[in-house]
């Protein structure tokens, strides 16, 4: 996703496409172009279009189709109408898993957005050090699998350094990933650790678009840093923040890797997030139809959230200019 700081992505294509067609052009060049580049365009577009149709468009339509079938990979899919959806609505594990996922997303996105915003503002107001920006990005270089295993060790109840610190502070050791109440917040924070630097840099990119004179003027007026943050940074960053929020929420709903290596859905389904449940239905029980129906449900939830966030945060409009 590109964050265009001054205008949101949805408005970019139209404006810039028009821009590309106008503009002065020498006569010879125009003469050569007048016939259009149809054949050449077909050649340039062919591989990407093939990829788009075969591995994105077709699977999307097929995913919706499969959700109306009974399909175990071995025998042909059999049309069963709304059966999978009826089953889903009556499946308590599905609702549990949706609740767990929402809990995860709320903690993950809440903490991550606040922390990323703080880091971005610190990077902007305190220093221009590229090295610091590089450092905050390092956890992103590890895979979710690696990050999950590492934190499983750091937070181990008996031997983990995290619990050594807890014990040194005089508290009882916390079974972070083995306890039903702690597991989801812990996984949410592990993923904050991995992604917060990246999110911070995206917000930092948005902060670069805010004219420095505004801060200078505010300082002359005697405004405190907190006041400048409230009155300048936050309102002007809003469109970028909204787009980043939409992107990170969509990513957050797809949590899977970290759960697999840390808790495998347990204890007692406490971390059975939706994507984990879908994977189990498809590859554990070979119910591809039911798994597809749950995927469609997730797709609907994500689309609704995107739409709502876009409307509520007025992502399309900027306060700048």
């Amino acid at each position: 996703m590109t964050i265009a700081s001054s205008s949101p992505p949805s408005r970019l294509p139209l404006g810039s496409a028009r821009e590309a067609r106008t503009g002065p052009r020498p006569n010879r060049a125009r003469a050569r172009e007048s016939g259009g580049d149809g054949r050449l365009a077909a050649l340039f577009l062919a591989p990407a279009l093939l990829g788009f149709v075969v591995f994105l468009l077709w699977p999307t339509l097929r995913g919706v189709y499969l959700s109306f079938t009974r399909f175990n990979l071995l025998t042909p899919a059999e049309w069963v109408g709304l059966d999978n959806y009826v089953r889903m609505v009556n499946d308590p594990i599905f609702w549990d898993s949706l609740t767990v996922t929402v809990e995860y997303v709320v903690i993950n996105i809440g903490v991550q957005t606040a922390a990323a915003l703080a880091i971005a503002v610190l990077l902007q107001r305190l220093t221009q050090s590229a090295m610091l920006r590089g450092i905050v990005l390092t956890p992103y270089l590890m895979s979710n699998v690696v990050a999950g295993i590492v934190w499983l060790w750091l937070l181990d109840t008996q031997l983990g350094i995290g619990n050594e610190i807890v014990a040194a502070l005089g508290a009882d050791r916390i079974p972070f990933l083995a306890d039903e109440t702690w597991a989801i917040p812990t996984i949410a924070l592990i993923n904050v650790w991995r992604h917060v630097g990246y999110t911070a840099l995206l917000l930092f990119a948005g902060l670069q678009a805010i004219p420095n004179d505004m801060y200078e003027a505010a300082r002359v007026d005697g405004a405190s840093e907190w006041r400048m943050f409230r009155r300048i940074t936050l309102p002007l960053l809003r469109p970028v923040l909204a787009v980043v929020l939409i992107m990170t929420v969509i990513g957050s709903f797809q949590v899977f890797d970290t759960v697999t290596v840390t808790t495998a859905g347990g204890p007692a389904n406490a971390t059975n997030v939706l994507q984990y449940y879908i994977y189990g239905a498809a590859f554990g029980r070979f119910q591809f139809g039911y798994a597809s129906a749950m995927s469609v449900a997730l797709l609907v939830v994500l689309s609704a959230i995107t739409f709502l966030q876009y409307r509520l945060t007025r992502a399309g409009r900027s306060d700048l200019g």
Binding site: T2, I3, P9, P13, A17, A20, P24, R25, P26, R28, A29, G36, D37, G38, A41, F44, L45, P47, A48, G51, F52, F55, L56, W58, P59, R62, G63, L66, I119, L122, L126, A130, L132, G134, V136, T138, P139, L141, M142, S143, N144, V145, V146, V150, W153, W193, F204, A205, Q254, F256, T260, V261, Q275, I278, A282, A291, S292, V296, L299, T306
Partner: protein, 307 residues
Amino acid sequence: MTAATATTTKARPAGRRGLSPGRVLAWSAMAAIVLITLLPFYWILRTALSSNSALAADPGNPLPVDPTTGGFERALGLQSTEEAIAQGGAGGGLKFWRYLINSVIVSTLITVGQIFFSAMAAYAFARLRWRGRDKVFALFLAGLMVPTIFTLLPNFVLVKELGLVDNLLGIALPTMLMTPFAVFFLRQFFMNVPREVEEAALLDGAGKIRIFFRVMLPMASTPILTLGVLTYITAWNDYFWPLMVSYSDSSRVLTVALAIFRAQTPQSGYDWSGLMAATLIAALPMLLLFACFARRIVSTISFTGIK
């Protein structure tokens, strides 16, 4: 700091840059962030170099305890089964080099293919004139809205039908030809290449294909490099899709192998030393890759905001 008059600035030349309580607090916060970011990396190294029995006896020691390279040997599959079990391992090692080569092949196929084909399409959208261009581009943009995860199940069915399950090509194929984002991102950069440059080449008699290779690609080299490195890192770190497609060592990539290595560790007591050594060698190639291009990547992300 408030009411900054000429006299106060003169009296305290370091006024703004000085050590106000606020700045001390802000720098402390920054230091804490750096610490939380980097400390786990040190702890991985410290654990990997310790022996399992000593780790249990002295969990809080900041230095490696009873230093040994046994963890690395187990991760690389260099120890015999008896040796490994004696040191707290599972016996089954990691065929590290096999998985490393698989990861390199998959990530390279995805990165080179995706960037090159997306760049071609981006050029067609940005600079070629053909009927229906805006409509097809709108379709690509709509593709941005479909979460990757939604296409995974049907794509698995498709790859199975193509007979590419448990095959490196099957892992690479779905993202090898394009992603809507790469097309969208590169198109933005091609739009910004000044028309004049292209026209000068046209007047010199260069064809459009030549312009693409000799003008457009070189002029967009920095964004292409950034996109390339990020695509490589994403492909390298991907777990869910390769997990679906690969069944055996022949197509197993590092992330999947690592998760299996973790699942194999004895439930009675984890082989932490071996696990940390394995995570370190799995993450090392990306840390090195990033170290080479860090400055350019960080500035591209933090000034254009690419994801």
